[in-house]
């Protein structure tokens, strides 16, 4: 997928004015944020479980080479074929080669954010393979030619009216309005796709080094279908997604659905190991696992390594006041919200995403909810520091910061100028005590008024309080 995060500010402004989007995003808050709060209490020691989950991820990352080799050895012994991909183009080429090798013409795909990194669907269409997304949200997006706006709820930005229109257009059926009816229609359209596909494509939530298995987590059952019915299965995942043992992944599974959708457990968890045996009635004859780097190895061993703990639950974006107001598309690439504001610059270059590390109020909510204790606000700050060191801040920003620093070092001038400042601003506020346009910072008052100060500085008020 093309990285368009350079246009963050422009896109965010457009999204803020989009009433339909704002309504859609409010649903996310009540369902996912409220749901999470309700189910984390089921675990007596939620904080201790988070610590254990972070330790599992660190153990894997600190010896990544060992665990990947162990995984490769075990998976190969069970008949899977492991492919290594340095970047998205490698993934696309490898999948096209697998398709050619096994005479694949159609593929059914379950949700995979890693495949979005690669732009796999377009590449496969060019290679002559017809690809159908089967996750309901991803299927809707494929019909609409849009990108996901959330890593768990990809179509959260659309309402049912828009989806009803899309289905009526593409399915040539009478327009449905009920959500259950829409879901059934998609089920009926997609069932033959599963049954007839030559190849199933899935992501992989985790790889288990102990057993050489890929583990996937789905609610709809499409993940099970694409890994059960087609004769070829290709799983695509990032090199960082390995965990040592079945017990380790279990610790993560206590947190992933709770943090993601507010469920105690996801409907289907499938541990996939090797290919169909001669006795099995179903299952793929060929199992290919593609491990993608795409810049992840350069995060390893750096001061940003903790980002690689991420298990893609989406809790950070659900709780982020910035994401809650602009949605995912404004971020310009695959991963939105706080985790995306870190991952996109790390994988695609800080220069290509100058606004993302600053697209946060550093309120700390993301770090507080992260199931694997990624210190997201600290990592955002690290990136801001790197921007400063590399001279990437605008001249205006640098000038303002330097002016403020000078003023702060001269207390008398500071006191005098703020006394004048607050009095001027009080006058500007008038009777309503609101400033409609802030001189020098008109952008701030574009969508809101600035509350005018009372006319006295804190130091003046403090002095008065002391004497009264």
């Amino acid at each position: 997928m093309q990285n368009n995060s350079i246009n963050f500010k422009k896109q965010a402004t457009i999204k803020l004015a989009d009433v339909r989007l704002q309504n859609a995003l409010s649903r996310l808050q009540s369902r996912f944020v409220g749901g999470r709060a309700a189910v984390i209490s089921e675990i007596n020691d939620f904080q201790e479980t988070r610590t254990a989950a972070a330790a599992v991820r660190d153990m894997a990352l600190n010896d990544l080479e060992h665990w990947l080799l162990q995984f490769e050895q075990q998976a190969t012994a069970r008949g899977a074929v492991i492919h290594w991909a340095e970047n998205g183009d490698d993934v696309n080429r490898i999948v096209a080669e697998i398709a050619a090798l096994h005479g694949v013409r159609t593929a059914a795909k379950s949700k995979s954010m890693v495949s979005e990194e690669c732009g796999l669907n377009d590449a496969l269409e060019k290679a002559g393979v017809k690809v159908m997304e089967t996750d309901l949200g991803e299927y809707i997006l494929q019909l609409a030619h849009e990108a996901p706006s959330h890593i768990v709820a990809p179509v959260v930005h659309k309402n049912k009216e828009e989806i009803a229109d899309l289905f009526a257009d593409h399915h040539h059926t009478p327009r449905k309005t009920g959500i259950a009816e829409l879901c059934r229609e998609a089920r009926e359209v997609l069932r033959p796709v599963f049954l007839n596909a030559d190849m199933g494509i899935s992501g992989g939530n985790f790889m288990i080094a102990e057993t050489g298995s890929v583990l996937i987590v789905t609610n709809e059952g499409n993940g099970r279908l694409v890994t059960t019915l087609p004769r070829v299965h290709v799983a695509i995942t990032g090199i960082e997604k390995v965990v040592p043992t079945l017990e380790d992944v279990t610790t993560l599974l206590r947190l992933l659905p709770r943090s993601a959708t507010g469920q105690s457990i996801t409907n289907y968890i499938s541990l996939l190991t090797g290919t169909k045996s001669s006795e099995d009635h179903d299952g793929p004859e060929h199992f290919h696992i593609i491990l993608l780097d795409n810049g992840r190895s350069s995060i390893l061993g750096s001061d940003m390594q903790k980002m690689l703990r991420c298990i893609r639950c989406g809790a950070c974006m659900n709780h982020c006041p910035v994401y809650q107001n602009i949605g995912g598309h404004a971020y310009g690439w695959v991963y939105p919200g706080p985790m995306g504001s870190i991952l996109t610059p790390l994988l695609g270059g800080l220069e290509a995403s100058p606004d993302l590390p600053n697209a946060s109020t550093l309120c700390g909510a993301c770090g507080a909810v992260c199931p694997v204790r990624i210190p997201l606000p600290d990592l955002l700050r690290n990136l801001r520091e790197k921007q400063m060191e590399r001279g990437m801040k605008t001249r205006q920003e640098t000038f303002l910061l330097k002016s403020w620093a000078w003023l702060a070092l001269h207390p008398k001038i500071y006191s005098f100028s703020t006394k004048i400042g607050v009095r001027l601003m009080k006058m500007m506020g008038g009777n309503k005590k609101l400033i409609h346009s802030l001189p020098g910072a008109p952008g701030w008052t574009n969508g809101r008024d600035f509350p005018a100060p009372s006319g006295q500085t804190f130091r003046e008020l403090y002095q008065q309080g002391k004497h009264s």
Binding site: A24, L64, E210, T245, N267
Partner: protein, 220 residues
């Protein structure tokens, strides 16, 4: 140099960088072998009281239906009553090891074969079940095709109550004890398939079953 060597080389370099800072080295290899051999558990929420009671409560929370009988031969009657009450078709398939149950006598057309997309009911057993979450665990195999619990709109799972364990960790331990390695697929099933992709509204029956009926029935 191929992609595999390049990526592993980058990982190795990165690890040397961070190990130089942390002072980690040979002990790591030892702890890897130990970790694999011991596979230690993380913190587990305790399941208080009776496993069966816990399991049933969690099943209901997942929108599964639960019935109980002490007579395994009565299972087909329970299934028939359940389907009739809901006005559902009575044709379907079952796992081979369940074919001896008196399906026909209960007025059901349940065949012992793998499922195709036309079957309305799929009857399976379960390798075990997890009380903590109300989850069924099934293992693929010749006698236990996974599509039976996936393609039909109604999934009926017959569960031996002594196979209810507290946690997923306990379930893995059973797999380790009874098999050398996991089969092609281990499925954890927690209620009917669902989606909330349209307006965050939970809707049952996305691509898998619309309903899951768990029948708790002892083998003897």
């Amino acid at each position: 140099m191929n992609a595999r060597e390049k990526i592993l080389g980058k990982i190795r370099d990165a690890q040397l960088r961070s190990n130089a800072n942390n002072g980690a080295s040979v002990e790591n290899t030892l702890s890897i072998a130990q970790h694999l051999a011991q596979h230690p558990r993380g913190p587990q929420p305790p399941v208080i009281g009776d496993l069966l009671k816990n399991f049933k409560e969690r099943c209901l929370k997942l929108s599964s239906d639960v019935l109980e009988t002490t007579n395994r031969g009565d299972v087909p009657n329970l299934v028939a009553r359940y389907l009739n009450e809901k006005n559902l078709p009575t044709q379907g398939v079952c796992w081979p090891l369940l074919s001896a149950l008196p399906w026909r006598e209960a007025g059901l057309d349940i065949q012992s074969r793998p499922s195709n997309s036309q079957d309305a009911v799929g009857v399976t057993g379960a390798f075990c079940a997890i009380a903590e979450t109300g989850t069924l665990m099934t293992l693929s195999g010749k006698e236990t095709p996974p599509s039976t619990s996936l393609l039909p709109e109604t999934h009926v799972a017959i569960l031996e109550p002594s196979r209810i364990v507290a946690s997923m960790e306990d379930a893995w331990e059973l797999v380790r004890k009874e098999f050398k390695q996991p089969p092609r697929v281990v499925n954890f099933i927690s209620g009917p398939s669902r989606t909330a992709d349209i307006e965050m509204t939970v809707t049952m029956g996305a691509h898998g079953p619309y309903r899951v009926l768990v029948i708790i029935a002892p083998l003897t």
